[in-house]
């Protein structure tokens, strides 16, 4: 078994707002193995981005993140200061964001933006950093990198900018790359190119990737393992095939039914809205929208029920006495 480069135990993130305390992430635990690619899927506001931003100390001031432990390549980073974290950011952990149009600093040249982390983390001097930056732009498939280096973000298209973002995130050869909806703001053809590029970079640099997306299609094209989040908790985790064919949670099933498959079948939306995280329900967060919900679901949070070695689901339907009464759940 491969080494776990990131292991998160019981991460809890809250935001102080005028309305009260929003419990955005309510105890998530997961791991990332070296060189693998993990997908985190869920709808807007389910806590998928907040989970990763908490680990990287990239949240706003009104956020508070706590965890029992966050092990990153043998070091517990759950209690380090933001200042210490910045020595890992961009060096051991790279990150790509959703909107390349706003994620690059408009008044600094591409060269300045790539060279800064290179000079800081790898202790390169200016010419060395420039040379490395050129190499990186070439690697991410940017034509005539020499002239692009001198340009400013507004002179580049969205796809090119996202390539620049990838070059910046990968320039110090990080162990882990976190991509937060990297293709959401791009049109479909560019989306495919960026995904291909990420796949190629992952192979070339042997970097583990965490891909955050609401699009199971995007996740399935890159990831081998998937976490499904809902209402601030992980509801199901498993290899991509397990998730598609041995679906263990009604929410996952709902997500799968709402992807167009191109066979003319009608899409089935999930009725209702996500839970209010100011006052999260005490039972399963999905109970209010779930067609299989029982009385128990509203009362108590379901534990993890292992489906196989890599696959578990947090749903009362897998409790032995429920199976005995209702039989194996048919979710798909």
């Amino acid at each position: 078994m491969a080494e776990k480069i990131l292991e998160v135990k019981n991460l809890r993130t809250t935001f102080q707002t005028l309305a009260g305390e929003v419990k955005a992430v309510r105890g998530t635990s997961f791991y990332v193995e070296s060189g693998e690619s993990l997908g985190i899927v869920g709808e807007s506001g389910c806590g998928k981005s907040v989970t990763m931003l908490s680990i990287l100390h990239l949240l706003d001031e009104n956020a508070r993140a706590e965890a029992d432990a966050i092990n990153f390549v043998g070091q517990d980073i759950s209690r380090i200061t933001t200042k210490e974290m910045r020595k890992l950011n961009g060096y051991k952990i790279g990150m790509i964001f959703q909107d390349p149009m706003t994620s690059l600093n408009p008044v600094f040249s591409i060269e300045q933006q790539i060279c800064d982390p290179l000079m800081r983390h790898l202790k390169l001097n200016r010419p060395q950093a420039r040379k490395k930056a050129l190499e990186m732009l070439e690697t991410v498939g940017i034509p005539s990198p020499e002239s692009r280096l001198k340009q400013y973000p507004h002179e580049l298209s969205g796809g090119l900018r996202q390539r620049v973002m990838i070059a910046i995130a990968m320039c110090c050869n990080p162990r882990l790359l976190i991509a937060d909806e990297p293709t959401t703001a791009l049109d479909v053809t560019v989306q495919a190119q960026i995904l291909d590029l990420m796949k190629q970079m992952k192979e070339e640099y042997d970097t583990a990737v965490v891909l955050i997306s609401h699009d199971l299609g995007v996740i399935s094209s890159l990831c081998s393992r998937v976490i499904v989040m809902y209402g601030g908790v992980i509801v199901e985790e498993g290899l991509i095939d397990d998730l598609f064919y041995e679906t263990g949670h009604p929410y996952t099933a709902g997500l799968l039914r709402s992807i167009p498959r191109g066979d003319g079948e009608k899409l089935v939306p999930i009725d209702g809205t996500p839970p209010d995280l100011l006052n999260p329900p005490k039972g399963c967060p999905f109970a209010a929208r779930c067609s299989h919900a029982m009385k128990l679901c509203r009362e108590a949070m379901p534990p993890k029920y292992p489906m196989n070695e890599h696959h578990y689901s947090c749903c009362w339907l897998h409790h032995p006495s429920v199976i005995a009464k209702r039989g194996e759940a048919k979710l798909i």
């Binding site: 950011n89 964001f97 008044v107 600094f108 800064d116």
Partner: protein, 308 residues
Amino acid sequence: MVRYIIKRIVAGFLSLLMLITLTFFLMHAIPGGPFSSDKYRKTPQAVLEQIQDQYGLNEPVYVQYISYLQNLAKGNLGVSFTKLNYSVNDLISNGMPASAKIGFLAILLALLIGIPLGTTAAVRRGHLADGVSMVIATVGVSVPSFVLCVLTMYLFCDRLKLLPTYGLSSWKCYILPVGCMAFGQIAYITRLMRSSMLETLRQDFIRTERSKGIPELAVIGKYALKNSILPVITYMGPMVATLLTGTFIIEKVFSIPGLGRYFVNAIGDRDYAVTLGLTIFVGALIIICNLIVDIIYAFVDPRVKIDR
């Protein structure tokens, strides 16, 4: 670049011509003239006629206008009507150095205090530093400068006897006028900087800088600052021009031989030549400062293209 500057200079001349024309005719439209005040009540009518004739004030206004423009083209701003044997050019070259020195120091002080103060307020939003700087900024904007001048004069000159009340004879003389002049500007720049910095810190690219592992000090002091300083640069154009040419109140209170007080006195005296001359001078300075600011702006913000 060169084409752009030439274009702007031509445009500047046109606006200056408009400014001259408007000021000229408005000045002449105000009732009374340079020699109709109480001072000349006892002067015989024939003498006044003679003086008016000498200055060409009995000609129709458009003739005066044309002859003024002709003189102006030669770089001659005319002769003061109320100060004997003083040309407006002399007035400017006498008053400008004192005003410019004080103005320059005030600009420097305002930028050196306003930018860091506004930035700190934004970064520590809701904390003590923010509260303190916002109180300073509000006081600075709302307290009129004559109140500030008199109060500080009373405190530092009369009570504490630390600083002189007038003149420009030693470096100590500069402290109060420069401080009083800068105070309002510090307040304005602090507010401008704070709101602009808050806006910048909300942007996605700030999170990108942090995700690259840039320490917070560099994120704020380098990457956010260059974005949020743009409104301050814009504001600097008119600010530099008006501060360099002096403020009436401060020059009056501290008895500084600067330009500002000539300007206000000239309007009261209907001294057409001095009023017009100083208006043209300040107007030209504002136009030049704005041009410089626009060029600096293009260097700071690459999205602004000036070659067009």
